[in-house]
């Protein structure tokens, strides 16, 4: 072993209790970081997937500008043949056509403004959880039936049940008056109040007929097998759709900008807390190394008298911190990964999680996934800050004079 490395290693064990206390702080913070970051990343993945699976899908083919304005006339022509073409070309059945309009929905006594989606009853259950969330009645069946499924909050507001009729009033794609009477086929309960209050679905063919769509729609919704597969799938869809068709493919980030913002806000506050934890560990290392350097001032004077340059002395101090940091990194990662791996099988919950889970479409029990990134990123930052914390003690050595140093006992 290199004698400088050996010297650094033995130096850190001169005061084993102090070294273990410092390393212990690193190990503890690394375990915490591995677990918390894994849990956090896992929750974000679930939040994204669950939210996208409820309705918007991982991506949508739309007319340009529709994602911002959502005007009725910004249509995708022949939307059902396009969806069928994509299903065939991608070899996937998680593709469905939709159209959307705003209308007034009236029961006998009440009227509410809602967003109505025209959907393909056969394909919609492949891209959305909503059909599976019907609590009363049934989901849509016939492509051209004048029937509708509504959310539980809207049903309560309108005071209707399955089998009741609703009158819909809106504007067609050409600006003309559009109206229809539909039968409530089912009532869904997604748990998300906005969806349960404002959204209704009816068969696409009936929708096109009511709103004079002439075969057009507004979206082709595509669900990827997982979030990780979405970018590659999007590239394939873009190649299939082609710019010549005057259509664009919007990813989940464009479709659900609020989701990313919510994640970023949560991440900012969490990383602020992690930052405080890392800084505390760094100060612990700084304290240890400063004490260690001060204790060895006489010895440093001697080795400088023997011909060692202050720069090399500084490198030894940095190496000592690096070795402590490495020890904390390895032990912290092993223990943190073991804990997280155990919880990834057994699951994890905490008081108040049910409420948060319902808000973000999450299960009440989280299974934090172990990934290389979530395991390594926190401990790596702790390691870097450990090194940075020892820069000052190492730098102090540059100002040391051998004679003055050797006078220190």
């Amino acid at each position: 072993m290199n004698i400088v490395l050996r010297l650094a290693w033995r130096n850190i064990w001169r005061q084993p209790r102090r070294t273990w206390l410092t390393t212990g702080a690193m190990v503890f913070s690394n375990i915490l970081l591995v677990f918390m970051i894994s849990l956090q990343f896992g929750m974000y993945g679930l939040m994204i997937n669950n939210t996208l699976q409820v309705f918007s899908g991982h991506m949508q083919v739309q007319a340009p500008g529709y994602v911002d304005d959502a005007k009725m006339r910004q249509v995708v022509d022949d939307v059902q043949p396009l969806a069928a073409h994509l299903r065939e070309a991608l070899g996937s059945d998680t593709v469905a056509a939709r159209a959307r309009a705003f209308a007034l929905a009236s029961s006998e006594d009440r009227t509410y403004g809602i967003a109505i989606y025209g959907v393909e009853p056969r394909h919609e259950p492949r891209v959305s959880n909503l059909p599976g969330l019907v609590e009363h009645g049934r989901y849509l069946q016939d492509d051209d039936a004048y029937e509708i499924v509504i959310g539980s909050v809207l049903a309560r507001n309108l005071q209707v049940a399955t089998g009741d009729e609703l009158t819909l009033l809106g504007s067609g794609v050409d600006g003309s008056f559009a109206a229809a009477v539909v039968v409530v086929a089912g009532i869904f309960e997604s748990g998300v109040k906005d969806i349960d209050r404002n959204i209704a679905q009816m068969p696409l063919t009936a929708f096109q007929d009511m709103f004079y769509m002439n075969g057009a729609g507004h979206q082709v919704v595509i669900l990827a097998p997982s979030l990780a597969d979405a970018p590659e799938l999007q590239a394939r869809v873009e190649a299939l759709v082609g710019a010549d068709d005057g259509l664009v493919v919007q990813d989940w980030d464009a479709l659900q900008p609020g989701l990313r913002q919510a994640i970023q806000a949560d991440m900012s506050s969490a990383f602020f807390m992690y930052g405080i934890l890392v800084v505390l560990v760094a100060f612990s290392v700084l304290n240890t190394q400063l004490m260690s350097v001060l204790e060895r001032t006489h010895e440093f004077g001697v080795v400088m008298a023997l011909g060692m340059k202050p720069g090399l002395l500084g490198r030894i101090v940095l190496l000592e911190s690096a070795l402590m940091g490495l020890l904390g990194f390895v032990l912290g990662v092993i223990a943190g990964t073991a804990l997280t791996a155990w919880l990834s099988v057994r699951g994890f919950t905490m008081p108040g999680m049910d409420e948060m889970a319902a808000q973000f479409n999450l299960p009440a029990r989280i299974y934090p996934p172990v990934t290389l990134l979530s395991v390594a990123i926190g401990p790596f930052v702790v390691f870097v800050f450990t090194l940075l914390a020892s820069v000052y003690p190492a730098w102090r050595l540059r100002r040391l004079h051998p004679v003055e140093a050797m006078r220190v006992n």
């Binding site: 004698i3 010297l7 033995r10 080795v303 008298a305 023997l306 050797m406």
Partner: protein, 230 residues
């Protein structure tokens, strides 16, 4: 050939409000291969002179030349390189690195010099045997007597064959028998390798080994005589 030349050097320390002249217009010339003892009462300036010769301390005025190079104007880095290549130090308190074994302490200087591991190992083992520490090479300083530690310190000082060895009260913490053994070792190294020795001491027993005795008082040389060593 001149190993050390000091020309009119002065060094003043301030203690509280009092200025203490540690070296007062001192000049001395030491030839290569000499065995010189600097002798003075405590505070006479011998350690300050050793520090100035070793480049550990810079005089306020005057010139210091070692091995033909003027060192009082060198940078910290240049002085470190000079000490590493040309000067060996032996201290009163041994000053071994406590976490390294006897052999590793001796190898340490060579490691800093960039000597290859195999060569380091052979040289350190040979030298430890030469100073009578065969079989003790794997002991830590705390596991050795004062005399043994000082022998390791001597081995460390001479392992890279420096032209000049500076020793500050090397026998102060040793019993008379061990001190005599150490001085015999110095004489042997001086005679075999033509290494120049400058030893600061107030030990009468050490002085009888010196070929040249320099007496100092208040930072000045008051007597400088050649003598027949023991």
């Amino acid at each position: 050939m001149t190993a050390v030349r000091c020309i009119d050097i002065c060094k003043t320390y301030t203690q509280g409000d009092v200025d203490i002249k540690a070296l007062d217009h001192l000049s001395i010339e030491i030839e290569k291969g000499e065995f010189v003892c600097l002798m003075s009462p405590s505070g006479g300036g011998k350690t300050t002179l050793l520090n100035a010769i070793g480049g550990l301390d810079i005089p306020d005025s005057g010139e210091v030349w070692v091995g033909g190079q003027r060192i009082d104007q060198m940078s910290k880095g240049e002085l470190a390189e000079l000490r590493l290549a040309n000067i060996g130090f032996v201290f009163q308190a041994y000053n071994l690195i406590p976490v390294l074994t006897a052999r590793e302490n001796v190898e340490f200087v060579m490691q800093v010099q960039g000597v290859r591991p195999a060569e380091r190992h052979v040289k350190s083992m040979v030298l430890l045997e030469e100073v009578g520490l065969e079989g003790l090479e794997d002991r830590l300083p705390a596991e050795m007597s004062g005399g043994q530690q000082q022998r390791v310190a001597v081995a460390r000082a001479i392992v890279s064959r420096p032209e000049l060895v500076l020793a500050d009260e090397p026998t102060a913490n040793l019993d008379s028998h061990t001190a005599a053994d150490l001085m015999e070792l110095f004489v042997q190294l001086n005679e075999h390798h033509q290494t120049t020795f400058v030893i600061a001491t107030h030990d009468q027993g050490v002085m009888r080994y010196a070929k040249r005795l320099v007496r100092m008082r208040d930072g000045r040389i008051v007597d400088d005589v050649q003598q027949n060593a023991a």
